[in-house]
Amino acid sequence: MIIEALLSLVNVIVNIMFTLLDVLPDFPAELVQMVDQYFSLIFDNLGLAGFFLPMTAIKIVVPLAILVLNWEHVYSMIMWILRKIPVINVK
């Protein structure tokens, strides 16, 4: 509920900010095609990553590592939210 409200607020702020900016032109179609060709080669062969890397373990470890690395910020944010709830009385 709280996270949803905060994220919705971020969305509104981003929208307001972007409306103040001018619209930039689209990426040229020819360039998109060239880049797409190159990247499709990579995407087609992305399955090879699973051959050399333990993707199941990586999929679990990477989000946890991000959480651990940013622990201070995550902790601060959770405590900041909890302090706002009077019933819990967290100092």
């Binding site: 509920m1 709280i2 996270i3 949803e4 994220l7 919705s8 969305n11 981003v14 929208n15 972007f18 409306t19 900016l21 619209v23 930039l24 032109p25 689209d26 990426f27 040229p28 998109v32 880049v35 060709q37 990247f39 080669l41 990579i42 995407f43 087609d44 062969n45 992305l46 399955g47 090879l48 990553a49 699973g50 051959f51 050399f52 890397l53 333990p54 993707m55 199941t56 373990a57 990586i58 999929k59 470890v61 946890l64 590592a65 651990v68 690395l69 622990w71 201070e72 959770i78 939210i81």
Partner: protein, 513 residues
């Protein structure tokens, strides 16, 4: 005033576009053309209803049956008409060109019985045990270079007669021997040892499917008598929209075995919807033999049975036989009438009702055993005490964990805003998101296929396109396979150790402030 007129005109146009209409021009004097432009669950299309059957169409419309296509509406009308007794048909025919007609007791009672047969849940001709269903997780085997194919590989399955009763057939999904990275259906006759391998678009049409295969069945729709085959049902979560999942159904069979005719010559495939009562309805199955609808009964745990019905069953959310009041004037459909207004959210509502029922079922306790009232009361208190931390946990998780689909919706909104505002700058971001999405979808079962395209130079093809399946290559060599497993074990170990080391460093950092 002018504005209001414009508004009315627009509203009327929208109404006409999004509803089934009976087109005014009729090329055939004995048939009434029905046209659906598509709205909600209704698929756009056209069909004909015989003029004498239009009162039946009116009865079906008045009964409030929901349809997914205008063809199913027309077919249901014609089938219902053919199921009336001759006396009732004669009576109905008299009102074919009337503006309205008064329903007699005879026609009303017959209609109720016919309605139950056509739209009810009990009409099934074949029932199969659900215990032998195979569930195949196609997601685990998905490949990225996915070329669709619709070719059927024709092979004679067996020399002798095979039928659903002696059940000597077994079926499985295997790697296609025809195209690398694709799937095929393998049917084996355990008596003769003969095999049939069939390529199918269904197996490659959705990358996130779960397949269910029925036991050997007799295909009732083919003109060929007792054609034996299997039904394959795929649940395609990728195409889910508005809470309606798409189900593909396909019958693969070989009429040669029991009918002595040419080998595999038919293939049915179409999309359908899940019903409230755990049934799956297909839309029209089009074959050279005509149009057919099928309904499957099925549950993932195999506790219920599958069945096929040879009669079309188009009722999406209502299986209660409708009855029309006797002595009521029913307006007869005429050219140009809007006969049917489909509701867009009918199945979305049905889906939420189903989910609600399941959730309620999880928390319903039935019975307290035979230990008496005190233990029953104590049990309730213990349950209540146990429920408190669960409830607190649920509240806290609700506070911090966003609801299902919220983040996806937010990301979509942010991305569309950025695309609108930033233009070319969002392209690298889109690529990055796509890259990580693809990367996250890889698991240990994903085959490692190296794919390369052709390389042309001044019109000459220097390098031909091709692919090399590294997984198959490794698995064909025992030593290499062993080495690869050893390598993966080491990497797994290294990843876990690195993570633990990171945790330790972080812990020390936090403790030392």
């Amino acid at each position: 005033m002018r504005k209001n007129k414009k508004l009315i005109a627009i509203l009327l146009t929208v109404l006409l576009l999004f509803n089934v209409t009976v087109s005014p021009a009729s090329a055939n004097p004995v048939a009434l053309p029905l046209v659906a432009t598509g709205a909600g669950i209704l698929v756009a299309g056209s069909a004909y209803v015989a003029q004498e059957a239009t009162p039946v169409l009116s009865m079906i419309v008045a009964s409030g049956v929901e349809f997914v296509s205008v063809q199913s509406m027309a077919l249901a009308t014609m089938l219902a008409y053919s199921m009336f007794t001759v006396d009732a048909q004669n009576e109905i025919q008299q009102y074919a060109n009337a503006e309205s007609y008064i329903l007699s007791e005879k026609v009303a009672s017959e209609f109720k019985a016919i309605f139950a047969k056509l739209f009810g849940s009990g009409a099934s001709y074949y029932t199969f045990s659900g215990t032998d269903l195979l569930v195949y997780d196609y997601f685990a085997q998905r490949v990225f270079s996915n070329t669709l194919t619709s070719t059927i590989y024709n092979t004679t399955l067996a020399e002798g007669s095979v039928n659903a009763i002696n059940s000597s057939l077994s079926v499985s999904i295997v790697s296609s021997p025809f195209t690398d990275g694709e799937k095929a259906v393998k049917i084996i006759n355990s008596v003769t040892g003969a095999e049939l391998i069939v390529k199918s678009t269904l197996l490659n049409s959705c990358e996130y499917s779960t397949f269910k295969i029925s036991e050997p069945v007799i295909n009732p729709s083919a003109n060929v008598a007792n054609a034996v085959g299997f039904w394959i049902l795929s649940e395609c979560s990728e195409q889910c929209s508005d809470c309606i999942r798409t189900y593909n159904s396909e019958y693969i069979g070989d009429p040669h075995n029991s009918a002595g005719l040419a080998s595999v010559g038919f293939q049915f495939m179409n999309t359908g919807y899940k019903l409230l009562d755990n049934r799956y309805i297909t839309q029209f199955i089009v074959s050279a033999n005509g149009l057919y609808n099928y309904v499957f009964n099925g549950a993932l745990d195999g506790s219920t049975t599958w069945s096929t019905t040879v009669t079309p069953t188009q009722s999406i959310c209502s299986t209660v036989p409708a009855s029309l009041a006797v002595d009521t004037a029913i307006p007869v459909v005429a050219a140009g009438d809007i006969v049917y207004v489909p509701t867009a959210d009918i199945c979305a509502n049905a889906d939420s009702i189903t989910r609600e029922a399941v959730t309620t079922g999880e928390f319903t306790r039935t019975g307290t055993g035979d230990t008496g009232i005190i233990s029953g009361v104590l049990g309730t208190i213990v349950d209540l005490l146990k429920a408190i931390p669960e409830a607190i946990g649920a509240v806290l998780s609700k506070l911090f964990i966003p609801s299902d689909g919220f983040l996806e919706e937010l990301m979509y909104k942010l991305m569309s805003t950025m695309e609108n505002r930033f233009g070319l700058l969002t392209y690298p971001l889109s690529l990055l998101i796509e890259f990580f999405t693809e990367l996250m979808s890889i698991d240990s079962n994903t085959p490692a296929v190296f794919v390369w395209g052709s390389w042309d130079y001044e019109g000459t093809e220097l390098i031909k396109s091709g692919s090399f399946n590294l997984t198959e290559f490794i698995e064909s060599n025992t030593m290499l396979k062993y080495l690869h497993e050893l390598y993966m074990l080491c990497i797994n170990f290294a990843v876990v150790v690195a993570f633990l080391r990171l945790c330790e460093r972080k812990f020390r950092g936090v403790m030392n402030n």
